[in-house]
């Protein structure tokens, strides 16, 4: 019997309509856990570097986390893996809600799509019954609307869907599921495969290896997690956090910081948010209610969380009501609320600079809100100039030309980044932004605090109860004074720890808000490197400890790296936006990069060495690299 996982994947060939239920190799669970880890292995094995995002041979993999559906609280994430059209590299995005657990209850750990359907379809999974169904009645329908229609047709189903943007292969589109979305990079591939939605319903058991032991650990944790002030999205309902976003992040096309902005709108904006909110909601088996369901007049109901409430307002220099209103549209179109406002703000800058003209944008409105609504319709339909903009800032800039490239100042590896523009360089962030395979800082940062604690007594208190941290980080933190730069050793180790925790979360399905992302705000995340194996072992029967877990995360990290190296990624691609910090130090930056590669066991060009690969049991990567001339045979 398989524990925690089902031991089966669904293989769906959308070109031929062939559907297979395939038993998986338990040895791969030992090596990679599940979720994003085993998906990385499948991508390595089956997607050679010649395959591009929109090739039929590209895979689109929906992976439930290894612990999804078990009693482990907050294990509900579903990772979507493919090659992204933006980067032509490994892409990873994940969503919470109910989808991952439901897939497990239906009897599958993953759905692996290949090929391309000749017409728009959706997949219906009801335990052993799996059908590719015609979706012509869903064509052009909103991502929320599609979920509602399919749930009417298929009671009890959990649905993930793309909207019009995904159907039109808009690069900045998202896969939506209730309150959550796989928002980055992956949805255009779903649209390209002509897959409108997946509906799943399951009524099977998930088995636990050592039930009483796991139960005892989890059952006591509901109240603890509920009460833990750093667990969950602490920014979900906190005016100070709102001020953090509006006052510190840059408005427009990542241009202007408006210090003190929040104070002027506090009362009005808080009252509006309270007025539009129907309810705070949570994800499967998690007591934290991080999401809010909102009802905006004239729009279908939808969910928001955290920073998404401000991104459109800030991009357009508009107010909160505008943000709520346009979200009612963009959620239906299925768009990434981080990248989209930046693309629209970028287009406005091009217009103001005379690079885009009235010929490109006939009857272009004069106000920020009007312009955003106008551009939005062009982008999701790929109409006129919207066709270029739909490919994201980096590619649109090069398609438009005429100096538009100068306005692409906030992308890394061709992907839009959070609009942070700061003064003093932080070398850990320099490394994470440069080298992160996930091209989004929130998916890389998170275990080590963002800020030092000026008060020495408080610092000691924080370190004393800091169970999550390996010893060296306690030493770093004790020595860390305000405005003090990280040493190279500190920066490289902090990055290594931060990303390791995300790689674990993404394999087992635990929410980053309970683990990898939360240590940086308060240092007391419910899950960390020293207690996670206590949960994974009794759930799965695997014999794990913190060291073994760290090694698995390294293996997964290196496999994703190797996949990208095979596709051409090199050191030269690894840089943050030039204007991310006002004060830079190229010499120390490059020294950090050297040291980071060395710590990772990579060459000076960012390629995992033979020794590293061999130590991690990835000898097949060595073979492949030799065959492709990346390594020499000796």
């Amino acid at each position: 019997m398989r524990y925690a996982e089902t031991g089966y994947n669904l293989e769906i060939d959308l070109s031929t309509g062939n559907i297979e239920r395939v038993e998986t190799d338990p040895g791969l669970t030992e090596l990679h856990l599940g979720g994003h880890g085993t998906a990385a292995k499948i991508m390595w094995d089956r997607v050679p570097p010649e395959v591009e995002a929109f090739s039929p041979e590209n895979l689109l993999i929906f992976s439930s986390g290894l612990l999804d559906g078990t009693p482990v609280i907050g294990a509900n994430r579903c990772t979507v893996t493919t090659i992204a059209p933006h980067t032509n590299l490994h892409a990873h995005s994940n969503m919470g809600g109910y989808f991952g657990p439901e897939l497990k209850f239906a009897g599958y750990d993953k759905i692996i799509f290949r090929g391309k359907s000749p017409k728009l379809v959706y997949l219906w999974i009801h335990n052993d019954k799996v059908e590719i169904r015609d979706a012509s009645h869903l064509q052009g329908k909103g991502a929320m609307e599609t979920q509602i229609i399919l749930q009417e047709e298929l009671p009890g189903a959990q649905v993930a869907a793309i909207g019009l943007a995904g159907e039109n292969r808009v690069y900045i589109s998202s896969i939506e599921h209730y309150s959550t979305a796989a928002a980055r990079l992956v949805a255009p591939v779903m649209g390209d495969k002509m897959l409108k939605a997946i509906a799943v319903r399951g009524t099977k058991d998930i088995n636990i290896a050592r039930p009483a032991e796991l139960w005892q650990l989890c059952n006591s944790k509901y109240q603890e997690i509920y009460d833990n002030p750093v667990a969950g999205d602490t920014m979900y309902n906190d005016v100070e956090a709102d001020a953090f976003h509006t006052d510190n992040f840059a408005w427009g096309n990542a241009r202007t910081r408006r210090k003190g902005f929040w104070a002027g709108v506090n009362d009005e904006w808080v009252a509006l948010a309270d007025n539009l909110r129907m309810r705070w909601t949570g994800c499967y088996n998690c007591p934290k209610n991080c999401h809010q369901a909102v009802s905006v007049p004239g729009r279908p109901n939808y969910f928001v969380k955290c920073f998404r409430r401000f991104t459109y307002a800030m991009g357009a220099y508009e107010d909160l009501m505008f943000n709520y209103d346009i979200l009612g549209l963009t959620q239906e179109y299925g768009l990434d609320a981080f990248a989209t406002p930046q693309v629209l703000a970028f287009a406005i800058e091009l217009y103001e600079a005379g690079i885009l003209t009235d010929e490109d944008l006939p009857d272009f409105p004069s106000d920020g809100a009007g312009r955003f609504y106008y551009l939005l319709e062009k982008v999701v339909r790929r109409e006129g100039i919207g066709d270029a903009l739909a490919n994201g800032v980096y590619r649109a800039a090069r398609q438009i030309g005429k100096g538009a490239e100068e306005f692409d100042h906030n992308t890394i590896k061709k992907v839009e980044q959070i609009p942070m523009k700061l003064s003093m360089i932080n070398y850990a962030f320099f490394l994470m932004l440069s080298t992160g395979e996930k091209t989004n800082i929130t998916q890389i940062e998170g275990s080590y605090p963002q800020e030092p604690e000026p008060d020495l007594e408080k610092r000691k208190e924080l370190v004393d109860g800091w169970e999550a941290a390996p010893e060296r980080f306690k030493e770093y933190f004790m020595k860390w004074e305000p405005r003090q730069e990280f040493s190279i050793e500190e920066a490289t180790n902090i990055v290594d720890w931060n990303e390791t925790m995300h790689y674990i979360d993404d394999a087992i399905g635990t929410c980053a808000f309970l683990c990898s992302f939360r240590g940086q705000f308060g240092q007391r995340p419910p899950y960390h490197i020293y207690n996670l194996s206590n949960f994974i072992s009794p759930a799965t029967g695997l014999d794990l400890d913190p060291d073994k877990l760290w090694k698995i995360a390294r293996r997964n990290r290196n496999l994703v790296r190797a996949f990208n190296i095979r596709r051409g990624l090199r050191r030269i691609d690894e840089a943050p936006p030039a204007d991310h910090w006002k004060h830079r130090n190229p010499e120390k930056e490059q020294a950090c990069l050297d040291a980071y590669y060395e710590l990772k066991g990579w060459t000076n060009d960012g390629i995992p060495t033979k020794e590293t690969l061999h130590e991690l049991g990835l000898d097949y990567v060595i073979e492949d690299f030799i065959q492709r001339g990346i390594f020499t045979a000796d």
């Binding site: 559906g69 009524t203 058991d205 636990i208 039930p211 059952n219 309810r279 909601t281 949570g282 007591p287």
Partner: protein, 183 residues
């Protein structure tokens, strides 16, 4: 005839729909606690509490498995909540042959909430940190003639009763005899 007033303990779970956050932890722990062996599996379809949800209409309704019913009832009322119409069945706790709710997914045998008699109180309530579920025990005075009620059926009795309803007692007895002989 004048009947005596007697004291009776009433146990129930009060449900506050407004507080539910839709985490469904109640379903998970219910299925785990009733798994055999205990906690060995999770499966919301085996849970004796289900959260009927329509998230885009902001409807979250935890329903607790109630009596087993061998036939469909006459309920035919519709309810409109937040602009969406629900049949009377939508929020009914009965284990009834017209739908899959509160029946074992494999055998179709009925499920019924036992208020976690094996535990120190209902587990669904304990994990409901949002306090949408609150356990309440109170004494009420009832007339002697209604204090009674048949003893609550155990899981096995309930299952057997539903099998008897489906196949008739003679067939059940014949089958049991045959099985015992084989053993």
């Amino acid at each position: 005839m004048k009947s005596e007033l007697v004291k009776k303990k009433v146990k129930k779970i009060k449900i506050n729909l407004d507080k539910c956050i839709g985490c469904r932890a109640c379903e998970l722990v219910c299925s785990a606690i009733h798994a055999k062996p205990k906690y060995s599996s999770t499966n919301p379809a085996r849970s004796r509490i289900r959260v009927v949800m329509d998230v885009f209409k902001d409807a979250y309704v935890p329903i607790i498995a109630a009596e087993y019913s061998k036939a469909a009832c006459v309920g035919r009322n519709d309810y409109t909540i937040n602009g969406k119409t629900y049949s009377e069945c939508s929020f009914c706790g009965a284990s009834c042959p017209t739908r899959e709710l509160f029946r074992e997914p494999d055998s179709g045998l009925p499920l019924k909430c036992d208020l976690c008699e094996s535990e120190s109180g209902p587990m669904c309530v304990k994990v409901c940190t949002a306090n949408a579920l609150v356990y309440e025990e109170r004494e009420v005075e009832v007339k002697d003639e209604v204090k009674y009620k048949v003893k609550e059926l155990s899981d096995m009795e309930l299952g057997l009763k539903s099998l008897v309803d489906r196949y008739g007692s003679q067939k059940i007895v014949d089958t049991m005899v045959r099985m015992i002989k084989k053993e």
